[in-house]
Symmetry: C2
Subunit: 459 residues, 2 copies
């Protein structure tokens, strides 16, 4: 009797598990069909990147992007769209940067492709003319000391490690020179700072990105610039032959007063849990030199499309589902910080937060915080994602815009596409719409929407 | 005593298993480092695609490619390079194709981008001028019958199914219209055959590819042409408004007498098994309209690099390792057939054969025949590939050039990259060197070389 009872219970547990897996599998198939045949990801991205274009925080284009995102979210079926205010930095590049060197010894004058780093001060119209000292590390600076550095331009010529399989790891290793290189160099009396672009491709595109002045290292702010891969090669080669060459650097960037801006938050209201939220977002701002396509127009349009997919497929989520277009990821994180502040103030309970900010490429998987059991739950869904070639569920964190939410204990998720091509174009003039493949964009969008559907159903 | 004995045995088994896994893991790391920092994959591909270019079987470029591959294999460190003769078809495109329609009803004349299909007969200089009948399937032809088809041009307007996650599945469904569409149409008296290009991208590039005349359907050979996606859309839209429009088609392709050609086979001699072989290859020939970069220059250079990696890393294989550049995959498989014939004649025992012919994209995994236990062995190596983001080991077959070997009972392997972008450029003028990403090319090459190393060690 007892055995029969256990058998019946086991049968029903297995039956309902299989049947709900089957129902989920059908819903995932519908979400994928939506993204692959009906979604507006690609046309939305085309508008954002080619009609609005590069949209650094505080720029008129960033403001246009806010208005566009609001409309796009309503068009996608949002029940409500909230504009969350935040004050953002307003850095402008100004006139094109000049970098050249004159080597009387080699009788050559060479122009180098370069780009000012975000938040950098300018050289002023008279520029800087100084010798260059090449280093590989912050330790090199210490060894060289003030006597060898003072009055010179420090050149961090550190390669992106091609051997790293995840290109983000190579980025992680070198980005410190971009971020803090100027303050380290200023500490020893340098006049300027050059960094080799953080890139895996040997071309002539300089890669910008944010830097900051670390006043614990030096109170003096010196101009910081990135050289293209090729420019770094040329400078390195020439320095070997003529270590005394004089490099001329001229930049016109400025930091203007902070501007008001917004996160744009599109919501589908939950049917059961009116104060519980699951969010997925990308960042709306981008660098000014390109169109902000892979970084991060793709993340924004993929997440907006979740609203459309849920509405059109009749998925009625239990919790409030939000697509978030964060402002100011690139140079300040004001949007991410504001989002968490509002969530805390309003006592909004966030079950999970996902960010898509690694390019609009083929989906590979999710990096999921182990907080609150979300990771352990999500790995059980691997078989549902297997037919969609999404194989990686790894216990790691979310994106930069989620740092403040993560500190509040919200389990965060980083969406992981295939990033092998990302650092070819990251933060360059080449980050344009034509670099995005429609199918790759849509497949990744579908993976994100599918994960949100499952979190809403089971978490 | 017995327990102690079992414990000791277990300890040593585990110890040696772990230690050999560790040793293998170090070798894989070295193979990846080689491909990512020293390999000639990218520069070899540049030469093959931009200096030699499109290289259809029988063409002077195909002959140049044979000579180039021989040199490249010796340069990579081959102990010997064998040229295996085979007779190949020699089809030439001739003057550019013309396709246009005149709709007196709509008062419009429109030119459509098209490309003759490989092996097709020509229209002759006078072209064909006829009404068009649009169909979705072979069954449609049967329903329409001779009375509706005779004297017309049949237009197979069948879409690539975007919902398929593996783009190869969508290709597999539609390629039958390219392959046999002309003979099916000729059966009902059609004068010509148009197919919508097999592609996932809505552009104006027509996709060629091989067709053949199935004499069991019809003894009459009619010209066959592919329209670009956009051209197919225009024709479809116009036919809705003017079903009687006259389409003009002019092609100048010809099939010349067969030519002698070669597979190029570079070998590293095995240290223990002089008559046992493990091979990896791609195909050297390509369509004439592009540069044959992703199809299949990438497969060829990835496999040639195996010789270089093994030699430079001091890997001394037990079995003979061969990199094979097959001839004539695109329109005849003469090379694949010849390879198997020679293997049989010389009693060469082939342990395993891999083909890389799905584009030079990011690696995803391997499709492995279940014959002779190879698949069951290979799945045990998944953990070794995990750090390299190669996750898929699936029980399926190899590539087109391996069909004849597969019939001899050789377990075959298809290398699987991420193919989402493949059918954007497959068989078009846009299959060019600049579409190949260096890192993606190298990572896939390293995955293939690593698998060959493991097969050599354990199979």
């Amino acid at each position: 009797m007892k055995k029969t009872f256990i058998f019946i219970i086991t049968f029903f547990v297995l039956y309902f598990t299989a049947s709900s897996q089957n129902k989920d599998s059908l819903t995932l198939r519908k979400i994928y069909d939506h993204y692959l045949t009906k979604s507006l990801c690609y046309s939305n991205l085309e508008y954002l990147t080619t009609k609005i274009g590069g949209r650094l925080s505080g720029s008129p284009q960033a403001e246009q992007a806010v208005q566009w995102a609001k409309k796009a979210m309503y068009a996608a079926g949002a029940d409500t769209v909230i504009l969350q205010p935040c004050m953002v930095p307003h850095w402008v590049r100004g006139q094109e940067e000049q970098c050249s060197f004159n080597s009387p010894k080699l009788k050559s004058e060479t122009t180098l492709k370069c780009t000012a780093l975000g938040s950098s001060v300018d050289t002023g119209p008279k520029g800087i003319n100084a010798e260059v000292i090449e280093v590989q590390s912050f330790e090199d600076l210490e060894k060289l000391g003030e006597k060898n550095i003072k009055g010179k331009i420090v050149f961090y010529n550190v390669f992106f490690d091609q051997r790293k399989i995840r290109s983000g790891s190579a980025y992680g290793e070198t980005v410190k020179f971009r971020a803090k290189g100027a303050s380290y160099a200023a500490k020893y009396g340098a006049l300027g700072c050059l960094v080799r672009s953080m890139t895996s491709v040997a071309d002539d595109e300089p890669h910008t990105g944010n830097m900051y002045y670390d006043t614990t290292l030096s109170k003096i702010k010196i101009p910081a610039v990135a050289l293209s891969y090729k420019a770094a090669e040329i400078l390195h080669e020439t320095l070997l032959k003529d270590p005394k060459l004089l490099l001329y650097l001229e930049t016109h960037c400025q930091t203007l007063p902070d501007e008001p801006s917004f996160n744009v938050v599109g919501q589908i209201n939950g049917t059961q849990k009116s104060n519980e939220f699951i969010i997925a977002g990308g960042h709306l701002d981008s660098w000014d030199n390109g169109q902000g396509a892979h970084d991060d127009g793709t993340g924004v349009v993929q997440c907006i499309e979740i609203l459309s997919a849920f509405k059109q497929l009749g998925i009625k989520p239990k919790h409030n589902i939000r697509a978030v277009a964060f402002m100011n990821e690139e140079n300040g994180l004001a949007g991410g910080t504001a989002y968490a502040k509002f969530a805390k103030e309003k006592n909004e309970k966030h079950l999970a937060a996902l960010e898509a900010d690694a390019g609009g490429y083929t989906p590979r998987g999710f990096l999921i915080d182990t907080t609150n059991g979300l990771y352990n739950l999500a790995v059980k869904w691997e078989s549902l994602f297997h037919p969609y070639l999404v194989d990686r569920f790894e216990p790691e964190g979310g994106g930069a815009d989620l740092i403040a939410l993560e500190k509040l204990g919200v389990p965060c998720i980083g969406f992981e596409p295939d990033t092998q091509r990302y650092f070819d174009i990251h933060h360059t003039a080449a980050d344009t719409f034509d670099k995005v493949n429609k199918r790759e964009l849509e497949l990744s969008g579908a993976a994100i929407a599918s994960l949100l559907f499952l979190i809403d159903s089971y978490y």
